[in-house]
């Protein structure tokens, strides 16, 4: 199993080609389906290999993949929120703050009116800060980085202040957490595959069979499809929806134009301001929804429960080169490594092995078939990183304490390898005055 026989097209669209090439991307041609299948099989093969080499059943256990899914959704959602505003040309560093607003409002709505209201409350909480950001950044034209950073700090302070006023007075609430939300949104499982709707649970049987390959396939499949919250399903469905809106609809065209070349949009009669307003508001709503999702998982608002996820979402957004598919890839990478990190140490070792093999393979491939003239520059860092990780896998005992840094280190490593291919929207951060300024 080497990376050799794959045509180069399977790799490049997910990294490089921005807006132009991507209209065709949503059409699942048979070649793309085949490529996706091949990558999935390759990944599964690697996982199985790692499971036996590192003797880590955790890496293919359904519990790991279930929590990977749960951890992926909020990151993907908040990064989608960032994608909305950044594709329209507004830098959004305030995602974390919007998420905090989401968790707080979700806690309030949830205690008052149940789990569905909590999700709605998340959106409302995000929107509060979205409006603030839109007014300051779009109407007044204040530096977007400053506004974003301020929103993060303000949201944290105001959430604590308001929690003292609101939640402390409630039965069972304190300054640091809201009363428990009664109930949860329904959880679903796929029929037959993972025992949804009263059908037999094939993947659980497969996982407990202990046969090589079959058990691992069952574990991964079951983890991803069993007992998934409707909120997570909603969140995951938003990703293709965003992709469709971005690449296929008239609004998507205006949206991208506002971020790439606002003057052109204006010349063609579109309104940059209206487009940016919509984008920022929808984006903040999504970030707030991610907060609401977190609140649902923890059954109530807890102070600091976002734990920097907004920033990770921002990193994922850049990592995914401002495309929905890239963002989803980045978010799942982060989610998986987070899930592995909270597991047992040998699971972490297995992950190190998988990464080492991938990095080394990418490095070798770039050295042999990369763009002439850049082969050394592109290939060597990747290869070196792969070899180092292999050495870590073979010789260094990883203490359990380092596992909390796993997702960050993994994201950083992948960034280093991917590197140099990012292209932000051209007009990111550029202010467009509403009309010619007279003063």
């Amino acid at each position: 199993m080497s990376l050799g026989p794959n045509p180069p097209t399977t790799l490049s669209p997910s990294h490089g080609a921005p807006a132009r090439a991507s209209v065709a991307r949503l059409r699942p041609s048979s070649r793309r389906v085949r490529a996706a299948l091949r990558w999935a099989l390759l990944g599964l093969g690697l996982l199985i290999l790692a499971r036996y080499l590192a003797d880590a059943p955790g890496i293919t256990a359904s519990s790991t993949w279930g929590s990977a899914l749960r951890l992926t959704v909020p990151i993907a959602l908040v990064a989608m929120g960032g994608l909305f505003s950044e594709r329209s040309g507004v830098i959004n560093v305030g995602l974390e703050g919007m998420m905090i607003g989401g968790t707080w409002m979700a806690g309030l709505f949830g205690t008052l009116a149940g789990p569905w209201a909590a999700l709605l409350g998340g959106v409302v909480g995000g929107l509060c800060f979205g409006v603030l950001m839109a007014v300051l950044c779009i109407e007044m034209g204040i530096n977007q980085l400053i506004v974003g950073v301020s929103i993060n700090v303000i949201a944290a302070a105001v959430a604590r202040f308001m929690a003292d006023i609101v939640f402390s007075q409630m039965d069972g609430g304190t300054i640091a957490r809201s009363p428990r939300i009664g109930g949860d949104v329904p959880h679903l499982s796929l029929p037959v595959v993972s025992g949804g709707f009263g059908t037999p649970d094939v993947s659980r049987v497969m996982e407990s069979s202990e046969l090589p390959v079959v058990a691992q396939l069952g574990g991964v499949l079951g983890g991803l499809t069993r007992d998934v919250s409707v909120a997570a399903v909603l969140g995951l469905l938003i990703i293709p929806l965003v992709a469709w809106v971005l690449w296929k609809t008239p609004f998507g065209l205006r949206w991208r134009a506002a971020g790439e070349e606002p003057a052109a949009l204006q010349a063609l009669g579109g309104s940059v301001h209206r487009t940016r307003w919509i984008a920022v508001l929808v984006g903040s709503g999504l970030a707030g929804f991610a907060g609401g999702y977190l609140t649902l998982i923890s059954q109530g608002y807890i102070e600091n429960q976002t734990a920097g996820r907004g920033f990770i979402g921002l990193a994922t957004l850049i990592f995914g080169n401002w495309t929905p598919s890239g963002v989803f890839f980045g978010a799942s990478l982060f989610g998986i490594s987070d899930a592995v990190g909270i597991g047992r140490p040998e699971t972490l070792r297995a992950l190190v092995l998988v990464l080492a093999v991938v990095f080394a393979a990418v490095g070798v491939r770039r050295l042999l078939r990369g763009t002439p003239g850049r082969r050394l520059r592109d290939g060597v860092p990747s290869l070196v990183l792969g070899v180092v990780l292999l050495a870590v896998f073979a010789f260094v005992p990883l203490p359990a304490a380092v596992s909390s840094a796993t997702p960050y280190v993994v994201t950083l490593a992948v960034l280093v390898v991917a590197g140099t291919r990012m292209r932000p929207p051209a007009a990111l951060g550029r202010l467009v005055p509403r009309r010619t300024r007279r003063s």
Binding site: L136, V153, A157, I165, S404, G419
Partner: protein
């Protein structure tokens, strides 16, 4: 800035604009905080009066000054990067790594104070600069945005510090979760002759002062600072003028990181006496507020840092009178934003005034041209603005 060069601007007005910016910002923040207090059912007026009465006591003022020092250093660290067009959001990780290194160095170096203290500062600077070097190198060699690498590195620094603290540098066992206590030969002495105990001022004020002076000299008065600012404004122009932008990025991040390395030391060497869980974690954002409040001007940032520290200190009294102490946090957060809004407002107002004055002058000139003999008396505004 947005002010037109063709409009003559009198010194009094320029001064007024400079002062009005921070003033309006603080007023705005006070107003918003009052709004929150009122919404929560508290009396804003009584809260502010209690805070003011507590804040202007001599002990509080001294404590505010000591609290302003790390904020000012953080502000200078941020400003170095901002002047290069970079956003050093990694100050957080840099100062925590450096604080741990500084605490260990101060506790274990076998030298007298005169040698140990400068060495401690140097080591902290080096660690901070080293941690800031990673995003800089990744930016220029791999093209990865420095904001995201810094964010990731902040999280990684948290883990590294935790692992090092629990595994390597923890002194003793059991409940003790800090590094070894630093003896008197490693602590920063108080400023001589200005009170004792609670009322003493740490000599870190001098360090902060030096940092401010160095910042001013490097950025405003040196070729290096000039090329830095050119590279920030227009990388293309800088490249074609022979300035190597890549190198400037690395240098700016190194300096910013080195200064950031000092941020945590006042707490280590003057307050706690060791590295433990009490090191404040919000110094970067509050320092950033000071950067913005002072518009990256060395004196402006100092005033900003003092105002922020003053509020932080005086909010502590609110708990005694049954008011939420979170008011201080809200104020600090809001001032971050209102500093931007305040400057926006004053600049617009300034532009408006300039426009009105110019129009009036134009009209008068037209009138004079029509009736040359009628008026030759210069009006006071016209005279002042010329």
């Amino acid at each position: 800035m947005t002010r037109r060069r063709t409009l003559p601007v009198g010194l009094p007005r320029r001064l007024a604009v400079t002062v009005a910016g921070p003033f309006v910002s603080v007023l705005l923040a006070l107003a918003v905080t009052a709004l929150f207090l009122t919404a929560g059912g508290y009396s804003a007026a009584s809260a502010f009066s209690v805070m003011w009465a507590y804040g202007v006591q001599p002990n509080s003022l001294v404590s505010s000054l000591n609290g302003a020092v790390p904020l000012y250093v953080a502000a200078v660290a941020g400003a170095f990067a901002v002047r290069m067009g970079l956003f050093n959001i990694g100050v957080d990780g840099q100062y925590r790594m450096a604080a741990l290194a500084g605490a260990v160095a101060a506790a274990s170096l076998p030298f007298p104070l005169a040698v140990r203290l400068p060495l401690t500062l140097l080591i902290a600077c080096a660690v901070g600069a080293g941690w800031a070097l990673i995003p800089a190198l990744l930016k220029i060699h791999r093209g990865v945005n420095e904001v995201i690498t810094s964010i990731l590195l902040n999280a990684i620094a948290t883990t590294i510090v935790a692992v090092l603290l629990s595994g390597v540098f923890r002194s003793g066992g059991g409940q003790n979760t800090g590094t070894a206590l630093i003896d008197d030969g490693g602590l920063m002495p108080a400023l001589p002759g200005v009170g004792t105990g609670q009322g003493s001022i740490s000599s870190f004020v001098v360090v902060a002062l030096l940092a401010g002076i160095v910042y001013y000299l490097v950025i405003e008065r040196s070729v290096f600072g000039y090329s830095l600012r050119v590279a920030a404004r227009s990388p293309e122009a800088a490249e074609s003028a022979g300035i190597r932008v890549d190198r400037k990025i690395v240098q700016a991040m190194l300096i910013s990181g080195a200064v950031a390395g000092l941020v945590g030391l006042p707490h280590i060497l003057s307050v706690a006496g060791r590295f433990d869980g009490t090191l404040p974690t919000d110094l970067m954002f509050t320092g950033l507020a000071a950067t913005l409040l002072g518009r990256q001007h060395p004196i402006g940032m100092a005033l900003g840092a003092f105002v922020l520290a003053f509020v932080e200190r005086s909010a502590q009294v609110l708990g005694l009178v049954q008011l939420p102490t979170e008011v201080g946090q809200v104020f600090l957060a809001v001032v971050l934003l209102s500093s931007a809004v305040g400057y926006w407002l004053t600049e617009r107002a300034d532009a408006r005034i300039a426009l009105t004055l110019a129009l009036r002058r134009r009209l008068r000139a037209a009138r004079d041209a029509v009736a040359p003999g009628a008026s030759s008396t210069p009006t006071p505004t016209g005279g002042a603005s010329r």
